[in-house]
């Protein structure tokens, strides 16, 4: 039997804020950077929600509040040249990577901003060159697991020492694409790391209706894949586990699946009042809010002063406000541009002279309708 048993680790937080800063290789700036990314996302999303309610954002709005630690923790341990893809709840990962809030806001407003120029929702961003965030298919759940395997395959074929990290929700572990992608990645021992954010629901659907096992990691042995399961709202725990998964994959040992138990604090989208979520569940997780916990840790264990934190938070609030102002001032895409950029130019696109020798006769037409017994072609009837 070639199975690895998933490691499970679900401490009862926040009984103790565990990591000792002296054990950590991070200086104060770095600790601040983590906080900024998480808090910026939180603040940004709170604002986005209220803009949505004011009718200033079109379509639907999906937020990642409550899942900031999994996002930031995971991408923070990536190295130069590694790739990652997000789903709907990883805005803080983008912010950690340096994406500008004002650009995200402009995208949500449908403004004429690269790379999508108004063609995509604000939550979808692909930018390989600047961000290591390759285009993948955001529409259908789990469709990014095959693409994730493809990016990992590209690394392997090129002998690049990089990994492909793909965020995934619990619901997205149900579609067939999830398994097809994992299977392919495992057979070829590709450097694919799945960060599975089990936030208790897929839209309104509880875990029990999604899967007959307790943990997503329970499925990893079926693909001979390295797996761990952890509490996902502790930034340092996330970083440790993600790092192990990433180094496993980077070491050529095949894919890893790191499962984090966390919670979606808002509805599926802002139209959803999440009436189906039991109040106790909300409370349980509110007590374990990743930003609240990290903030407490900064104050209690890492000797941040309240004024320091307050200053960071004021800065963030100002940044979000100015992001909105900036975004509102950006132009909408020009209607005429709608038909542009459907096909990439190609070396053999037809030129006028190609139309000169269009006469190419067929000497002996080939007419089907033979039965097997009449077919004398080489190689059999097929």
């Amino acid at each position: 039997m070639s199975q690895t048993k998933p490691r499970v680790n679900l401490p009862d937080y926040p009984a103790e804020l565990q990591a000792d800063p002296r054990d950590l290789p991070y200086d104060k700036d770095q600790l601040r950077r983590f906080y900024e990314a998480m808090k910026l996302a939180r603040t940004f999303e709170e604002k986005l929600a209220s803009l949505y309610r004011q009718g200033k954002i079109n379509g639907a709005v999906y937020l990642g509040m409550g899942q900031e630690a999994t996002s930031v923790g995971s991408v923070s341990v990536l190295k130069q040249g590694d790739f990652f893809t997000t789903v709907a709840r990883n805005l803080s990962a983008y912010f950690y990577k340096g994406v500008e809030p004002r650009d995200v806001m402009a995208r949500w407003m449908g403004k004429d901003i690269p790379p999508s120029h108004g063609r995509e929702l604000g939550l979808f961003l692909a930018d390989i060159k600047n961000l290591g965030n390759p285009p993948y298919h955001n529409g259908s759940m789990a469709s990014w697991i095959p693409s994730g395997a493809g990016y990992a395959l590209a690394f392997k074929l090129r002998k690049q020492p990089n990994v492909m990290l793909a965020f995934t929700g619990d619901g997205a572990t149900s579609p067939g694409d999830f398994y097809e992608g994992l299977n392919f990645a495992s057979i070829h021992k590709l450097p694919l790391v799945i960060i599975c954010e089990v936030n208790q629901f897929a839209y309104s659907t509880s875990l029990a209706k999604q899967m007959p096992v307790e943990n997503v990691a329970d499925r990893a042995p079926a693909f001979n894949i390295y797996a761990e399961t952890h509490f996902g709202n502790d930034l340092f725990l996330v970083m440790e586990a993600a790092r192990r998964g990433i180094e496993h994959a980077r070491g050529g040992k095949g894919p890893a699946l790191i499962e984090f138990k966390t919670f979606r604090q808002r509805g599926h989208g802002e139209h959803d009042d999440m009436a189906y979520v039991a109040p106790e569940l909300r409370e349980f997780w509110a007590d374990r809010d990743p930003i609240k916990m990290y903030r407490e840790w900064l104050l209690k264990r890492a000797r941040f002063k309240p004024e320091e934190i307050a200053a960071i938070e004021d800065g963030i609030a100002a940044r979000v406000d100015s992001a909105i102002q900036y975004a509102e001032a950006q132009p909408m895409p020009k209607p005429e541009s709608v038909t542009e950029r459907l096909f990439a130019p190609s070396p053999h696109d037809p030129k006028p002279e190609d139309r000169l020798n269009r006469y190419e006769p067929i000497e002996t037409p080939s007419i089907p309708g033979l039965t097997a017994s009449h077919d004398k072609s080489t190689g059999g009837h097929f």
Binding site: P115, S116, E120, A126, D127, I128, P134, P135, Y136, H137, G139, S140, S143, W144, P146, S147, G148, A149, G150, Y151, L153, A154, L157, D177, E180, G181, N183, F184, I187, L342, F343, A344, S346, P347, H348, D349, P350, K351, D354, R355, R358, Y359, E360, P361, I362, E363, T364, P365, S366, I367, P368, G369, L370, T371, A372, S377, T378, G379, H381, F382
Partner: protein, 324 residues
């Protein structure tokens, strides 16, 4: 020039492009060790190694998704469907990922999705389908259907070098039944230029893929009956060579559209609608269509042949048009 079958021409194009560009790799079921269900990639594993000729588990959605992704970072994957019927299993990755990637992000995805289409070999409902209309209706995909060995090579070469997802649909009857002189070495046929298979002045028959052969046969028959028929072979549906179609119909004033896919909402409807619109003042007769009857492809030869377009059916429609 060598006399190659349609199938050998495809092999030839694949091989030359793989030699020319290390970013081209092949992926699909049974293509490496076995050389492909139809033996198109026989010997490729030896020459190119298993990093470039990748056998996969049966998981069309999975390997299409993976290949699409690799295409956005500089590879040029060529995916083989064992039979094109199984492209339905990868439909989502094709219409939602491949087709929309460049439009959404400006990141190009040069991938070729190829496989055997078509009936006439009594392979039954799941090994005989013609899916081109689905993809021609999906913006962002190019759709190519060679009818000759020369084109099979030239169009595949262009498809592999194209910077967009290309659905390249081969015809399995032609694989070993059609053979002609094919240029050695590099041979490129641009995507979006139709060919004239016969030149005529009384009637235009617009077709593509294997059905072109039936149309050429019809043109010969009708020539004996005194009619001059022009057979336009589209070669690609997207991009569509509207000019050649319209020029031909404006000259002949009569148009017939023929293909092997089912009639209703087939690509022939698009061509007929285009002609009806753009050539209204030129037409001396209605635009007719001949296509497969609107049923799945049945296995038993008499049923299958009744279902498919035929020389008789096309000739009958042509005669009605000429007499109109």
């Amino acid at each position: 020039m060598a006399r190659l079958t349609y199938l050998q021409a495809i092999s030839d194009a694949l091989k030359l492009e793989m030699r020319r560009d290390p970013n081209v790799f092949l992926i699909g079921e049974d293509i490496a060790v076995f050389g492909g269900a139809f033996k198109i990639t026989q010997g490729f594993l030896d020459e190119f190694g298993e990093g470039r000729v990748i056998d996969t588990p049966i998981a069309e959605s999975g390997f299409v998704g993976a290949a699409c992704a690799a295409a956005t970072v500089g590879f040029r994957p060529v995916v083989e469907f064992q039979f094109i019927d199984f492209i339905s299993c990868a439909f989502d990755q094709i219409v939602n990922y491949a087709a929309k990637c460049y439009y959404r992000w400006g990141i190009q995805m040069p991938i070729v999705l190829r496989g055997p289409t078509g009936g006439g070999v009594h392979a039954g409902p799941f090994h005989s389908q013609n899916p081109e209309a689905w993809f021609a209706h999906t913006p962002g995909l190019k759709v190519v259907l060679p009818s000759t060995a020369r084109d099979a090579k030239g169009l595949l070469t262009a498809a592999i070098r194209d910077n967009n997802p290309v659905i390249y649909l081969e015809n399995k009857f032609l694989y070993r039944h059609y053979r002609e002189e094919v240029p050695d070495g590099e041979h490129v046929t641009p995507l979006g230029v139709a060919a004239l298979r016969t030149i005529g002045s009384d009637l235009s028959i617009i077709s593509y893929g294997a059905t072109v052969h039936l149309c050429v046969e019809v043109a010969r028959l009708l020539e004996k009956e005194g009619a001059s028929v022009e057979v336009v072979d589209l070669r690609s549906l997207v991009p569509l060579d509207r000019e050649t179609i319209l020029e031909s119909v404006k000259k002949t004033s009569r148009a017939l559209v023929a293909h092997e896919a089912n009639l209703t909402a087939g690509f022939g409807a698009e061509v007929a609608a285009l002609i009806a619109h753009e050539c209204f003042d030129y037409l001396d007769a209605p635009v007719l269509r001949v296509a497969s009857l609107d049923v799945p492809v049945p296995f038993s030869p008499p049923l299958e042949m009744a279902m498919l377009p035929s020389v008789d059916k096309i000739a009958g429609a042509a005669r009605r048009l000429l007499a109109y």
